[in-house]
């Protein structure tokens, strides 16, 4: 019910509406990929190598004669998965550490914040490259690594929110009725601190999809034959002079998805902005 209200509010914002228009069909494609795809994404068709877009293959075919449209559709599953799982991991870590840091303050706060500073010193992408070089490249490893290197912003945000919330009277009242600290943090403070986290997480999904595409493009991400927008682009770069369609469509898919998430992020920001807050949200 709350989710539904949020979607309705998002639809009322200009940017959020545009984001939803872009992303909702993509979600549909990803979830119902077997129904949407016109061909198998794995089946080579040696009679139809590198054929340009036609009625049968609307995005053309690659050098093995596989249907690019179907591969892009199946690739959206990877992107969605990576986006949600890795951001889920980073939001979880960030929220828990940020909450503990902000609520307890003092030594714990210092410890967590210095850890954040430390993590922020690493150039994230190269850290990911180094870690993946040691582990075997797989979609799960990528999601975990992206998640583990992106929680710092969320932690700082949540900490700041909690610092201002923990002095509110309703938190004191919760203490006065003898609730445990766990309940005070997770049932009273955190739900009030989550709005900006949703915004940052939405932008984070876009970022994670880009990172995954980049890793797959470099060949250490999702491994062929599993289609991902990144590794379709890798194969495309060899034949870019003869087969533009092989680069254009997966590139466009990445572009649209990331822009979609960013637009939704902007929409959420408008909704949660106390200055332009819509009627029923307080």
């Amino acid at each position: 019910m709350k989710m539904w209200n949020l979607l309705k509010d998002l639809w009322r914002t200009k940017l959020g509406k545009m984001g939803l228009i872009i992303l909702l069909p993509m979600f549909g494609c990803a979830i119902f990929a077997p129904l949407v795809a016109t061909h198998s994404p794995y089946e080579p068709d040696l009679k139809n190598i590198l054929s340009p877009p036609s009625f049968d293959h609307i995005f053309g075919t690659d050098m093995l004669g596989r249907d690019v449209f179907s591969r892009v559709i199946y690739g959206s599953r990877v992107s969605l998965l990576v986006g949600f799982v890795s951001v889920g991991i980073s939001v979880f870590i960030g929220v828990v550490l940020g909450a503990i840091s902000g609520y307890y303050g003092g030594f714990v706060d210092n410890l967590v914040m210095r850890l954040v500073d430390l993590m922020m010193c690493f150039p994230t992408f190269f850290l990911i490259l180094a870690v993946i070089a040691f582990l075997e490249p797989s979609i799960w490893n990528i999601m975990v690594v992206i998640g583990l290197t992106n929680w710092m912003g969320v932690a700082r945000l949540v900490r700041a929110e909690i610092l201002s919330l923990k002095t509110k009277d309703f938190v004191l009242a919760a203490k006065a009725i003898g609730l445990s600290e766990f309940k005070i943090i997770f049932s009273h403070i955190l739900p009030n601190a989550m709005s900006p986290v949703y915004v940052v997480a939405t932008f984070g999904i876009g970022g994670a999809i880009l990172t995954e595409s980049a890793l797959s493009f470099l060949g250490i991400g999702v491994q062929p034959p599993t289609p991902s927008w990144g590794n379709i682009l890798t194969q495309a770069k060899d034949s870019i002079e003869v087969a533009w369609w092989l680069s254009l469509f997966p590139g466009l898919a990445i572009f649209l998805t990331v822009i979609g998430y960013n637009l939704i992020g902007e929409g959420l920001r408008d909704i949660f902005d106390p200055k332009k807050r819509l009627s029923h949200l307080r």
Partner: protein, 308 residues
């Protein structure tokens, strides 16, 4: 019921981020008083006098730096674990601003049932009846059960805050400026509600306010605070008919709408906290600190009344 002895709380405030030294602010400076069973004690003082700090210390939301608080004979500052939790059940608080004292994401039923379930005062299946009963007792009906705080007015919210405090069946209620943020027309309703629930639940109450008229309406005894110190203590009628401390006299004059001239002169570092504003100050006020003295019925901390 409650016996507070020499309670002190000092806050250190750094003037800037880079300041090495910090200024010490005495929010409470050896505050002592007794609260008898079933009594209402009014605490009056301007903002910054330490009233709210006193409330928070009694609720153990903040630790005092020194002194003792005995509740029903037990030193509550030494309580741990289970005993600590059972103290939480016995002492409850109503805050000033009902807009910040209710969690905006919880419905009325959640707000009121939380303390009940936390102390296992009712089974989950029967929580609705229990909450209904409490709502009735604060003058609201069942239709408020599933409302969110932002769907209610200030007065209704304050009723919910009182309901939450009553839900644990406490024996001491601390009301920290419970009507200061409400409309005048609603103030009277909330005050009579407080008196009514106090009577019905046989509560003792500490009523904190800057408004002398409000305190007069509800309290049996009054203490007057200024800059963390108790300047005068006594029965309500005694205080109003025979105020002894210059500060109390000034407050009463103000509340009647006949302001007295106030001296605001240099006087930093004087021993008496009221020295700077006192029209009757004498030399001794600079060097010595007046202590609270007098009979049980009326005490004052002022040299003019012959104290040491």
């Amino acid at each position: 019921m409650l016996s507070v002895r020499n309670l002190s709380k000092i806050y250190e405030v750094k003037k800037s981020v880079f300041a090495i030294s910090s200024t010490k602010i005495k929010a409470l400076d050896s505050v002592s008083f007794e609260l008898k069973d079933g009594e209402t004690l009014g605490v009056v003082g301007e903002s910054g006098s330490g009233k709210s700090t006193l409330a928070r210390c009694i609720l153990l939301l903040e630790r005092p730096d020194s002194g003792s608080i005995r509740f029903k004979g037990i030193d509550i500052l030494k309580l741990k674990g289970k005993d600590f939790k059972s103290l939480r059940k016995e002492v409850q608080i109503v805050f000033q601003d009902p807009y910040s004292s209710l969690n905006p994401r919880k419905r009325v039923i959640d707000i009121i049932s939380e303390p009940i379930l936390n102390f296992s005062l009712e089974q989950k299946e029967r929580i609705k009846e229990r909450v209904t009963g409490i709502l009735m007792s604060v003058g609201l009906d069942v239709s408020f059960m599933y409302k969110y705080p932002h769907e209610m007015s200030g007065g209704q919210r304050q009723r919910i805050a009182i309901a939450r405090a009553l839900a644990t069946e406490p024996s001491l209620l601390v009301a920290d400026e419970p009507v200061s943020s409400l409309d005048v027309s609603i103030q009277a309703q909330i005050l009579s509600l407080l008196l009514e629930v106090k009577k019905k639940n046989r509560l003792s109450m500490i009523f904190i306010s800057h408004d002398l008229n409000v305190v007069r309406f509800v309290s049996e005894r009054i203490i007057v605070m200024f800059k963390g110190k108790v300047l005068e203590e006594g029965g309500r009628d005694e205080i109003f008919s025979n105020p002894l401390h210059p500060y109390t006299r000034m407050l009463i004059a103000y509340s009647k709408g006949e302001p007295m001239p106030v001296k605001i002169e240099s006087g930093e570092g004087a021993s008496c906290v009221y020295y700077q504003k006192c029209p009757y100050r004498i030399k001794r006020c600079i060097s010595d600190q007046p202590v609270l003295f007098g009979t049980d019925g009326h005490k004052v901390a002022c040299f003019l009344e012959g104290g040491n």
